[in-house]
Symmetry: C2
Subunit: 134 residues, 2 copies
DNA sequence: CATATGCCTTCCCTTTACGTAAACTTACTC
DNA sequence: GAGTAAGTTTACGTAAAGGGAAGGCATATG
């Protein structure tokens, strides 16, 4: 959709808009997550609506705990201009499922940790009791 | 209990026993998690039963996701031999309570993260459905 | 013109939990 | 006495995700 005469935005504004730093945006480009950005006359990076959507998608996945490296595996699915959902989203679903599993594992481990700490706490507490009453 | 004539074990054997590397054990000593180890004649590190228990406890907590830095906060509570509970345990209880709180926070955050991922997943899944039926 | 932004690139810094030599002792064994 | 195995210290390397500073263009404005 956003191909020829669309509004272009510069890196500083984009960063502020998404509450990240310009360094982060350049870094994503550096590792190939954002693709080489088009430059204005003075070499300044410019972003169109597709780019913004892509970056928003990256941030969304990051928020969900997906690593940048994992996103690189998914690189094709970041093309918001491509509407071929049949081939693209199944992989995203796979990765999301994998992450749900990981999160479940972490929750289980933390719950177990909690009971370990609580047990330890009560053992010490008991010792303290018997000490003060002796 | 394990004070004078107890079996001493060397670093290589201990590492193999716990399925870690000697580097890991030395590293824990280096950052102060394990305390300076007693040496044999030839400067070789030796470990008694208390040391082994301490290391096992460290590995247990690590397995549960506690960072080495966090363990350093809990350092005093690792002394399985110290019986001076009057002065020590109140502080330990404080620290443990604090960590129980932290763990609860982490659990809550992960639970919320999980639902976010699940929601996102189902939105994508729906897109896929409507695509294939169209 | 001078100053102030905003952008550019390059490069080193940071944290965590070790891995991996390099160079050397000590001990056991043939 | 040479070899092998296990120990020692010192010290540089690694991944992840950027942070932050140095030094240099370009533009806007008083
Ligand atoms: Zn477009
Ligand atoms: Zn992952
Ligand atoms: Zn003892
Ligand atoms: Zn904690």
């Amino acid at each position: 959709m956003t191909d020829s005469q669309e509004p272009l935005i510069q890196i500083g504004k984009l960063a502020k808009q998404l509450a990240i730093t310009t360094r982060t945006i350049r870094y994503y480009e550096e590792i190939g997550l954002m693709g080489p950005s088009k430059r204005l006359s003075g070499c300044a990076r410019s972003y169109n609506q597709d780019d913004v959507l892509r970056l928003k998608f990256i941030l969304k996945l990051k928020e969900l705990g997906i690593s940048l490296k994992e996103m690189l595996d998914l690189a094709e699915s970041f093309d918001t201009h491509n509407q071929d959902f049949d081939t693209i989203t199944p992989r995203v679903l796979e990765i999301l499922d994998l992450h749900i599993g990981k999160v479940d594992d972490k929750i289980a481990k933390l719950a177990s940790l909690r009971s370990v700490i609580v047990n330890y706490r009560s053992r010490i507490s008991e010792l303290l009791q018997s000490q003060s009453t002796a």
